[in-house]
């Protein structure tokens, strides 16, 4: 896959994201993680090769959702209205009252205080904005969720809280997720599978078979530490090659 009249970004990428699993893409900056994610979303077309989603899912029906690195909220809409936007664009047939009800339920599920529903993005903290962004992605009940370093700009506490929230949402209704991250601990905690990308190709694949839910005992177990070191070593190896 190339950008027009530019260098090749991805080549020979042949991978399968299992349904109902969370897969992390990890690798150095510029290795093509975001490009791969955007290609999966249909935001960028590959110059060759193909992407198949089975069973078929379409972003325009809200079956594929994308969480950007920045919350990408519309500043003139309140938190609630930003979440409603996804339903308004995907399915204008949904009555306004139902749109509102679903958006409120999703924001509540993202643990945003009800008092913040009517606030504008400028009146929310970074963590709250990202909760709204996640709620907007989840409100259409997607079968595929694509996340492009969604927690990168957050402090450790917010990052951890949102990671937990994502896991709880997945446990309640499993969906296929592809997460781009630079954070090894995040990849180890959230994913079933970690793909390591380097210079436009997939290097190692690490299967994370630690038990779920990720309770405190799982997170502090020796196995979790071993998984962390395994991902870290594979990443170092790929970079060194």
């Amino acid at each position: 896959m190339r950008f027009a009249a530019s260098e090749e970004v991805l080549r020979g990428v042949n991978c399968r994201f299992a349904a109902g699993e969370i897969t992390s893409l990890i690798g150095p900056s510029g290795c093509g993680k975001t490009t791969l994610l955007r290609a999966l979303a249909g935001l960028q077309l590959p110059t060759s090769g193909q992407i198949a989603i089975d069973p078929p899912a379409r972003a325009s029906r809200g079956e594929i959702a994308f969480v950007f690195q920045q919350p990408t909220l519309l500043p003139w809409r309140t938190a609630l209205e930003n979440v409603m936007l996804a339903l308004q664009l995907c399915d204008s047939a949904v009555p306004q009252a139902e749109t509102r009800q679903r958006a409120e339920a999703e924001l509540a599920a993202m643990e945003l205080p009800a008092a913040a529903f009517g606030r504008f993005p400028r009146e929310l903290s970074g963590g709250m904005r990202m909760r709204v962004s996640l709620a907007r992605a989840m409100v259409t009940r997607p079968s595929v969720l694509l996340l492009d370093e969604p927690f990168a700009a957050l402090d450790d506490l917010s990052r951890s809280a949102l990671g937990d929230l994502l896991l709880r949402r997945w446990e309640a209704r499993p969906f296929t997720a592809v997460l781009v991250t630079h954070n090894i601990a995040e990849a180890a905690l959230l994913s079933h599978r970690v793909l390591i990308l380097r210079a436009g190709r997939i290097g190692a694949t690490i299967v994370d078979d630690l038990p779920r839910p990720r309770t405190e005992s799982v997170r502090t177990s020796a196995d979790f530490g071993r998984l962390y070191r395994q991902i870290s070593a594979a990443l170092r190896e790929e970079i060194a090659e």
Binding site: A41, G42, F68, T72, P75, W76, L85, L89
Partner: protein, 260 residues
Amino acid sequence: MMTRRSKLLAWIPTGLLAVVAVAVWQAIVTVYALPPILLPSPLAVLDAAWETREELTRGAVVTGGAAVAGFLLSLVVGTGVAALMSQSRMLRLALYPYVILLQTVPIVAIAPLLVIWSGYTFRTVVLVTLIISLFPIINSVAAGLLAIPQDRLDLFRLYGASRLQTLWRLRIPTAVGHLVIGAKTSSGLAVIGAIVAEFFVGNGGANYSGLGTLMTGWQTLGRTAPLMAALCISTLIGVIMFATVDLISRSLLRRWTQHD
């Protein structure tokens, strides 16, 4: 956030400067003993304003009406043209040179032509006002409609938003802040357009009594004091129009103009 008290205090330097300017004006008139036809004193201008209050009031209503009508038309036409330009590169390429013409055409030269075509009428004054206030609206709204952050466009693309949905729910709300900036510039230009047009419309001897017409008449008669009073009132109309746009942007349009 400024309190009411600090907002009032912020006007003190402006008020002081006005007082100083009027004092200097009065001093120049007194020290140099200037004849009133050259430069009347501030008090003489006030006197003249009172004496001609009926004509000035009628003139202000006519000129203000033309300026507001032309300005409102420029908002509608300008936003429409900018919306068209935002929809296709071809349209943008085709229209933009003509939009620049609006800015470069000398309005003083085109006004007599418009008088020939449209007559010594209120409509001609509105047309001139429209032409002079159109460019800032088109330019700023088009910039706003096109300056959409890529991730927001991606979001709309992802959800399969139609061209109309993207225009209505993304491009237009983004452009409101730009529209306000253009409207502030145009509000002042609208008054200039109206006055300039009235210079020509008034020459026809038609029954038209805008401030520009009054100013031409008083200039011919050498009545500088009421002329200056008319000038002050036309400036005041511009200030009121600017302040109204500002007030609307801070109240009705606040949601779209105050993001940070």
